[in-house]
Every structure is written in structure tokens, then in C-alpha cells.
Symmetry: C2
Subunit: 248 residues, 2 copies
């Protein structure tokens, strides 16, 4: 794993594929995986809102005034509500939301700290699997090889402290590795039945860069067994359907 150097600050409308293609090493392989922080994807796609253009509604004002949201700006709360299909819990300064894309995460992924301007909010990509596919295609067009692409963000978890990166979007990487019914080297049925490969890849990539390095892209080698020419089902496959979820 290594962070790519030389990806410049990304702005709305930038051709992100071009910036990543230029920063990728000369020996880029089709079996490589490029893990891209969602913040540069969202910026390039213009997925930002200005706080001063948001008028908070009654529900947002109520939540902002509650202990649960601990004095969040009502306009920020409105942005979170706008990106949420449902609010699962509120408390400890966090709204745990199900987003329109189907993610369950804090504050619907709306982020006030990752933009150059404190009055600007960064939202999740509208369709991160499509973002990953487009990035992959754009890199392939420029470099002649199409490594797998993962779009990652840091999510908190139930029951455990701290955040780990997960895959919001993926193209060309098998998201789940299903071992059900398969056996190990000694013929025993395997217990860890379905491995969330794309999430493990996202978590691993985060170790390859310091948070303050500003390096938004990490290259991972050695995962050829999970990389395919086809884009595949994407990280959508990692979303647990609400009907199979004991915590919704």
C-alpha cells in the first residue's frame, strides 16, 4: 500500500480521473486497486452546499435545539435531513441517518470540516458506485489500464469507538468474498463466511496515509484475486437490506 503523491487540491468540475491518472505510477497494473477518499470525489462532482443558502425548517430547528444534537447549526441539521431517508437515532451530538443512497452513518455523511471554506458543506456522492465506475473508465482512457477503484469514507460504528474507512463505491473490485459452504486447508467448514473485501480494502488504505497529509489516493497491490475487468455489483452489495437488519 502506498499513498500517491502529487494529487493537487481538487475543485468542483475538476476532471478527477485526469488528476489520479497523472499521479499514478508508471507501472500501473490492471490488477491494482486505487482507493480514493470520497472528499475529492464529492468536490469534483460539486457535491457541496453553502450554509448561508440553507433555510432550516421546523424539524431542523427543533433538533438543533435539543440535547441530542448538542448545539449543531440548524442549517447543518437541515442539510443532514435533506440527505436522509430516515433518522435512526439522535444523541451524543450525532444524528445517525440512513441516507438516500442507503448508507447508515453519522450526520448523513455531511461534513463541515473538509472544505477550504468553513461556510461550505461537503456531501456524499449521489451515486458512489457510479463515481467509482466513471473514475475507473477515465483512468483507463488516459492510462490504457483500468485498475479497480474504491471510493472510501470514514464511518463510526455501533459498539466500537473510533472510525474506520468503508467502501462507499467500488468498480472492478469484488465487494464480498463468499466462503459459505467452502472448506479450509484442513477440510473444515469456514466460520467467517462472507468477507467484506471492499471495506477491508478501504480500512487498509487509511493506514497508508496520515490524516493531515492531504493525500486522497492510495494504491494497493497484491489483490489481483479480487479485481476483475467487469465493474461488478459495486459497494451497493455491501448495504444490508433493512429487512435483514436487526438494528433498524
Amino acid at each position: 500500500l502506498r499513498a500517491l503523491e502529487g494529487v493537487p487540491e481538487v475543485r468542483a468540475g475538476d476532471a478527477l480521473a485526469e488528476l489520479v491518472a497523472a499521479a499514478a505510477p508508471d507501472d500501473l497494473h490492471a490488477g491494482d486497486v486505487l482507493v480514493v477518499a470520497h472528499k475529492v470525489v464529492s468536490k469534483a462532482e460539486g457535491r457541496t452546499r453553502r450554509l448561508d443558502e440553507i433555510v432550516p425548517g421546523e424539524r431542523a430547528r427543533g433538533l438543533a435545539a435539543s440535547d441530542a444534537a448538542r448545539g449543531k447549526d440548524p442549517r447543518l441539521v437541515q442539510a443532514i435531513l435533506d440527505d436522509s431517508a430516515a433518522i435512526l437515532r439522535t444523541g451524543h451530538g450525532v444524528l445517525v441517518c440512513e441516507t438516500h443512497q442507503g448508507f447508515v452513518c453519522a450526520n448523513a455523511g455531511v461534513d463541515q470540516s473538509n472544505t477550504a471554506d468553513p461556510g461550505e458543506l461537503l456531501l456524499l456522492p449521489t451515486d458512489p458506485d457510479r463515481s467509482a465506475r466513471e473514475l475507473r473508465e477515465g483512468i483507463g482512457a488516459r492510462r490504457g489500464v483500468s485498475p479497480a477503484v474504491v471510493v472510501a469514507d470514514s464511518f463510526g460504528r455501533a459498539w466500537r469507538l473510533g472510525q474506520v474507512d468503508v467502501a462507499l463505491g467500488a468498480a472492478g473490485l469484488q465487494p464480498l468474498d463468499d466462503w459459505r459452504g467452502r472448506r479450509d486447508a484442513r477440510g473444515r467448514e469456514l466460520s467467517a463466511t462472507v468477507i467484506a473485501v471492499a471495506d477491508a480494502v478501504a480500512a487498509a488504505a487509511d493506514l497508508a496515509r496520515a490524516k493531515d497529509s492531504g493525500a486522497p489516493v492510495v494504491l494497493i497491490r497484491g489483490l489481483e484475486r479480487f479485481v476483475s475487468a467487469e465493474d461488478g455489483p459495486g459497494a451497493a452489495e455491501l448495504r444490508r437490506p433493512a429487512g435483514e437488519d436487526l438494528f433498524r
Copy 2:
């Protein structure tokens, strides 16, 4: 990251530190991290039970007969109850438990598939941080260097399909990297405030071995910034206190 070759099948009473020390490379460094699958730790510590020595009580028989547990062996359910401080949810063939160690996971981590004998159950280590410290000390005594040690297991997640490895125990590795109040390269306050380093390390390690390889130990280099001579607080620091948890 690479899986260590040559770790033999582990049995109760084996000196696991000796087996790992022998399999570690000649150039083992103090800044290395060794991620050890909990199954070999539990085996070496004798954390197993025989199904035919378990008499299921009324609650276990009731759960086993319910749709929620989908025909689990009542003796297995009893073993799960014995290792649980609380049952958070039941459904889809799974009991989501809070274990006596404070982990929230499926079936209290009791595992029927990872032992040589189908009549044997594998339990979580009683104190995985202690296990990690003892392993680290034992490796240090044999090799003269004390890399960090993480004891890992695959856990399912709320909201997302598939399992990822998490750190049950750790010694010498900083479990959480706290960026609150720190700023990135461009002076902006960082959003991903507390990174669960030890969990990311566990997830990354799982990518370095095929599930059927039987390789229980993965060596990770390049994380010196998170490794210390002191054992530190251990993975206990990753357990979210129930009072701060919106999903208990």
C-alpha cells in the same frame, strides 16, 4: 503485509509465542505488527468446550426452538448464553450478544467451525488484551525484539453485509489515533476525528491471507508511528461504553 508461513496446527497448551517467534522472519523489527487470528490464541489457551458436555437450560432450549435461532443446537445456544452478559437481538439465525469481555458480536464469538472436531466449540479468549501482552512478551523473550501484537477476529456489522476483522486484543499498538482539534496540511480542522487504528490493522491483515490458507499470523510493516515499547491500553479502548452507545 504478509502472512507468515510455517505456523503449525495449534493445540491446547501449546506455547503459541514459541510457534510465532519461530515463524517470524529473521529481520523481525520492534516496529513491526503481528496480527494473530484469535482462533489459535483460543486454542492454545484451551478456550474450547465439548458440545456433549453441555446441558442446555430452559432459555437455551426456548431460543433454539425459536425462528430467531433457526434450529441451532440447544447446547450451542447454551454455550453462547454462558459467554454473554446480555443478548441484544435475535433473528436471522443469529444471537447478537454482549460478551463478558464487553464485545458486541454474533453468537458471543462462539464458533463451531474452526476446530478439528465438530463436537468442539471455540470460544473467545477470556482477556484478549492479556493474551496479546503475553504473546508479545513471549516473542520478545525468544527473539530479543518485541513487535506489537494484535489478536483479531471477524465480526459482522450493523447495516453492512459481510464481516471484517477487528482487534479483540492489542499490545504495543496505539488502538485509537485521536485527531480532534488537530488540523490538516491546509489548516482545516479534521473531520475523521478518531481513527480506530487497531481495527484497521486487523482488517488489513485479513487481506494478506486466503481464508483457506490456514495461515493465522500476518506481519505488517510501516506502522512504526503507532507502535510503542509500552503495551498501552489495549483493544479495551475500542469498546464503546454502553452509556455512549445508541444501539444498546
